[in-house]
Symmetry: C2
DNA sequence: ATTTAGCACTCGATAGTGATGAGTGCTAAC
DNA sequence: GTTAGCACTCATCACTATCGAGTGCTAAAT
């Protein structure tokens, strides 16, 4: 059976009405609110076909129809009008980001807050993934006799520090020279490469001075270890409470299941780690994480210097206002990219 | 009317049963489960007195009694047995912290996660309050021609960096000298003092060299501004989903109200900012934040070097297992203090 | 002077009932 | 191919009756 254009109109009407009301949509409603020149009876016939094709479902006899995952998918891919963000929202985002200053992690956190506030769904965000960036500058600073501070600047502007404890008192001069040597040798490498590097390889051929070598063998392993610990990016979520306003979560058990997921960083990490560069919609059971089979996720990435460094997403029920959320996510990541370029201007 | 010891026993029984069951407690239950040698009728008389005194309440006629805030307060202050943490929990905390390495913020986040997992309530935590610590080391690093990195180490081991943009290309040597000058002048000051400091005061009398002065007037304001932005400490919360298991939040509206609060960092900040050094219990309407009038909060602080640098807390219903939570919070902050001392060993 | 048994009373919770109405599928007429 | 008509389904809601946990009071027992 083919999907004639009238069937598409009816499907679109059902989906949009359901997105607004969360109530099963009947043939009468479609006829009265959306397609006034088609009678309910005709629509009923078409709906029976749409159900057979798997685009809509009936919760029970004598109820209206509800879109299936497959229906939403068709809607998102072909039916939905590509809304451009409305001016009000656009200005709001613009303004919010204009005032933002400070560290990049804080910026991402703020973006996540903004995203949940504007969409009224839950948002998640991953701070820049350190390991994908490249070393731009490394500096060892002597804090006191037993502590060395390593400061790492990467090409995405992410800055990390770690304190390295040493038994021996290393002289400031020596430290500076080691800093320089390491810089020469390591700059340009990605953090991922760096932490997996063979230490002896770094050591060899740098300098034959025994003093330095001794210090290096002490400092270097600690440094790499510290890097490893900060490898996994921070994950933020926000606006979970929004979902409690939705009828799909009036059942406390459902709500609980959802909230439990938001508390599990490893699951959120799974969602965000391998995100396609363009805005992506994942609907219901399409999701690999089975606990999210009643949710849809919209994800996008943000980049600096053409390099993807992190991602951000919106979680909501499959009955999500896809066009609105997509437009907001797009606008937000665009602004994020702009401001990142500005902040980390080199 | 005085609170005889039998009344106390009955009150204690009512509270402990209510903590376990969340159901109003009747005279029969008290007699059967707790005070077998007193008849229900006698207990009824005593309960009438306890109600008159305001320690318990009746949701409606023909229901059992429920503790009031005042009742819980008496229980916490005088009736409750001071439980020492059970060995299993103790070992668990000990072990969790043993394996923890990395940045201090991450440690606090982990502590919060642990706290909610063990208590089955929601937890909140404030990362070290930067502003209360004192400057120990300041270093300016030249990243490239337009960016200077300021690294700040404080006496509590907290490390912050901020990138300062400059129009003019400052030479490495000059930067180092400025670093040294600033160090001499500023070390020992608290960050709070520092950000409120008059810039001209710092400038004056350092060095008459015009070159440096020029640089200083550019760098210093930016530095102080950057410090101001990171002044407010990060706040984490965890385990909110736990509360959805409790019958008091089977009403979605109540749950929503609670979750909304957890999303508002300024409210959490209010809760955590002025916390007494010893573990504190705040019950129901005792709380300044009226949205939390049905909640109890248990807060405690963690310190480094005898100086309180942050706080941590548990949020739950007034029907909270006070003795258990207190013992866990105490044990956890103790371990936190220990490990902080170890990590930031100077 | 307490304590306790007995009893009438209150009131929320639960289950059963019937009416209502939104929505369907089918049939026959347009 | 489209639509009006109609019998049928089934969730929802309001109403009612019943049940039982728990109370307060009174009078008897200790």
């Amino acid at each position: 059976m083919s999907l004639g254009s009238r069937k598409q109109l009816i499907l679109q009407a059902i989906i949009e009405d359901y997105i607004n009301t969360a109530e099963p949509v009947g043939s009468r409603t479609v006829s009265k609110k959306y397609l006034k020149d088609i009678s309910p009876a005709t629509i009923r016939n078409e709906m029976a076909d749409l159900e057979e094709m798997g685009y809509i479902e009936q919760p029970h006899t004598s109820a209206g129809r509800v879109p299936s995952d497959k229906g939403y998918r068709l809607y998102v891919d072909r039916l939905m009008e590509q809304k451009t963000i409305d001016w009000h929202d656009y200005e709001f985002i613009r303004k919010e980001f204009m005032d933002t200053v400070g560290e990049i992690d804080r910026l991402i956190k703020h973006a996540s807050k903004l995203l949940s506030a504007m969409t009224k769904y839950a948002s998640i965000a991953m701070a820049p993934q350190f390991k994908r960036t490249c070393l731009k500058h490394l500096q060892l600073i002597k804090v006191d006799s037993h502590n060395i501070l390593a400061v790492i600047v990467t090409d995405a502007g992410i800055i990390k520090n770690s304190v390295i404890r040493t038994d021996s008192d290393i002289e400031v001069d020596a430290l500076e020279k080691i800093s320089n040597m390491l810089n020469q040798k390591l700059i340009g490498l990605s953090i991922e490469e760096l932490v997996n590097m063979d230490i002896t390889k770094i050591n060899s051929g740098i300098n034959n001075n025994e003093d330095y070598k001794q210090v290096l063998t002490k400092v270097l392993p600690e440094l790499l270890q510290a890097l490893r610990y900060s490898e996994r990016a921070e994950i933020y979520s926000d606006g979970a409470a929004n979902l409690l306003d939705l009828p799909e979560y009036s059942d406390v058990q459902k709500a609980k299941d959802f909230f439990s997921i938001l508390d599990k960083n490893d699951i959120l990490y799974e969602i965000l780690k391998d995100v396609s560069e363009k805005t992506t919609v994942t609907i219901g059971k399409e999701n690999k994480i089975h606990q999210l089979k009643d949710c849809s996720i919209i994800t996008a990435t943000y980049s600096y210097n053409g390099k993807v460094i992190g991602s951000i997403g919106v979680l909501g029920p499959t009955r999500m206002n896809y066009s609105k959320v997509i437009s907001i996510v797009d606008c937000l990541t665009q602004n994020l990219n702009d401001i990142l370029t500005k902040i980390i201007k080199t």
